[in-house]
């Protein structure tokens, strides 16, 4: 485990379950384990703590999930050209601490690092969705948590890979900023699991991505999982439009392609930094000296602060052109942008979420 925990709270009903036993067995010495009746109470923000969001990251809560595990991507909206992503919520919050992270607002009231012990129930939900699905589906676990950050403790990845390996119409996506891939290397995913990395230039990593693996380490990890039979994708998201960003992102892509051939990459998603006013205020309060949080963002029609439109478009276009130079069939799509921006940048009408989702699931 690379991340330090102050304590682990285990909901009584899950104490004898497989997940709790695995985590407790793998904890380093000195991390106290407390039993609680209801994990939801343990996950709430601690009163009187200056940065309860950061404190929550160090407090793992093993508990039952009361809601459904599967849902549409929370970023999806009619105003955006979306990718038809389904998310599977197996955890909430993340031990890393990125200055721009939307969790600072999204889980502010419940910042405890929740891991759901009844995650095998998600498989029944997946089976029900499969029964009515007409196209391949891509399902990710990295929306409210990093998919792999604590996998050496939880070992959840093994069960997931095993389930998806036996279902040709489903694709699992692990989304991560770590190089925590050891569990993956021991299993054959049979082409049904994709590992994606959020990639940022060194400047963004150093300024705004506390506790994450360095970009070079993420690329090296991608190369290793590719060799082990996994598909890979990359999210250039958030793209932060500081002066000199175009050159830094191009250099990052040069570094990536030198290590991972474009032809072996399933997709790139591009998404500009966007922050609701509430998120921006929370981020500025927590990281007041991070210059990347005070870029040339303006209040956009969707109510989020974004780099002004021509700047954003120029950056997207420059990155798309750099990827296109590799002459591969790698799919590029935009995240949380409207159909107009999609057409301007990618030169084609935005596909429907279902069509794009199926293409990303198939990997072709």
């Amino acid at each position: 485990m690379k991340f330090e925990l102050d304590a682990v709270y285990v909901e009584a009903a899950t104490r004898t379950g497989a997940l709790a036993r695995r985590v407790i067995a793998a904890l380093p010495p000195g991390v106290p384990v407390h039993e609680v009746a209801d994990g939801r109470a343990a996950a709430r923000a601690l009163p009187g703590v200056a940065d309860s969001f950061a404190a929550g990251k160090r407090r793992m809560v093993i508990m039952r999930r009361r809601a459904r595990f599967l849902m549409g991507c929370p970023a999806a909206a009619n105003e955006f050209a979306c990718c038809g992503y389904l998310v599977m919520e197996l955890a909430s919050n993340c031990p890393m601490d990125c200055g721009y992270c939307f969790l600072q607002e999204f889980v502010a009231d419940n910042p405890g690092f929740q891991v759901y012990a009844n995650y095998p129930d998600a498989f029944a939900e997946l089976d029900r969705i499969r029964a009515s699905a007409e196209r391949p589906i891509r399902i990710g676990t990295g929306e409210l948590a990093d998919s792999l950050a604590c996998d050496s403790l939880t070992g959840i990845s093994r069960d997931l890979i095993d389930y998806f390996a036996r279902r040709d119409d489903l694709t699992l996506e692990f989304k991560t900023k770590t190089d925590e891939i050891e569990n993956l290397l021991a299993i054959d995913p049979r082409g049904r699991t994709l590992v994606s990395w959020t990639l940022s230039p060194d400047r963004v990593y150093r300024s705004s991505e506390l506790g994450t693996a360095a970009p070079a380490a993420r690329i090296a990890a991608a190369r290793r999982v590719l060799a082990a039979g996994y598909r890979v994708g990359f999210h250039l998201d958030p793209i932060i439009a500081y002066e000199g960003a175009a050159g830094d992102y191009a250099a990052l892509l040069d570094e990536l392609f030198a290590s991972v051939p474009a032809a072996r990459i399933d997709f790139f998603s591009l998404g500009g930094l966007r922050m609701t006013p509430g998120l921006r205020a929370a981020a500025r309060r927590r990281f007041p000296r991070d210059p990347l949080l005070v870029g040339e963002e303006v209040l956009a029609p969707d109510g989020r602060y974004r780099a002004f439109a021509p700047l954003r478009m120029r950056l997207y276009a420059a990155l798309n052109e750099r990827i296109a130079r590799e002459r591969s069939a790698t799919k590029v799509y935009l995240c949380m942008e409207g159909a107009g921006m999609y057409r301007r940048v990618l030169g084609e009408a935005a596909p429907t979420p279902a069509a794009l989702g199926a293409r990303l699931a198939r990997g072709s």
Binding site: P301, L311, M313
Partner: protein
């Protein structure tokens, strides 16, 4: 001014203008030179609380972006000209805010300026108004026609049609095309 007197002067200024406690706390947390420079600016321009807050936030963000202290920002020639210049205090306060916005959003300022110049260069008749979003928050260009009677409307539409190519080029600029990487 010694630190105690400086703090007293800032508290007195803030109390007289009902400055929110959160901003007062941030102001007092600055180092002595920065907080004195802010007080001098606020007093010289006889700022109200709203304008002071806008200026303070802009200076704070410029300071973070450029790793420069507030007093060094306020000592820049383009701001000193405004602070030391003639004209009414409210007029100079407006000019100061405008100049700070250019420093805070340099590429946005260059981009909006170029689009405005391109629109002005079209020489369109009165009655036609072409505008880009104020902060280029989207790429939506608007064209408004104000005509009295059919003949005037026809003339305006014909004038627009003659400039269709130029208008399309400007709309592309607002959407991010036609720029070099140095410009945006």
């Amino acid at each position: 001014m010694n630190p105690r007197a400086s703090e007293d002067a800032i508290r007195a200024w803030a109390a007289a203008r009902h400055l929110p406690e959160s901003h007062l706390a941030r102001w007092l947390a600055l180092d002595a030179g920065d907080r004195a420079a802010l007080l001098e600016t606020a007093a010289a321009l006889r700022m109200r609380a709203g304008r002071f807050i806008a200026a303070f936030d802009l200076i704070d963000e410029i300071s973070v972006r450029e790793a420069a202290p507030a007093q060094a920002i306020l000592a820049r020639a383009e701001l000193r000209r405004i602070l030391d210049g003639a004209g009414s205090a409210p007029g100079r306060a407006s000019a100061l805010l405008a100049a700070l916005r250019v420093m805070r959003y340099p590429r946005l300022a260059r981009t909006t300026d170029r689009i405005a110049r391109e629109i002005a260069a079209l020489g369109l008749p009165r009655g036609i108004r072409v505008s880009a979003p104020r902060e280029l928050e989207s790429d939506e260009m608007k064209i408004e026609l104000a005509a009295h009677g059919g003949e005037e409307l026809r003339e305006l539409i014909e004038a627009l049609a003659r400039r269709a190519g130029d208008l399309a080029r400007i709309a592309e600029l607002a959407g991010g095309s036609g720029w070099t990487d140095d410009e945006v």
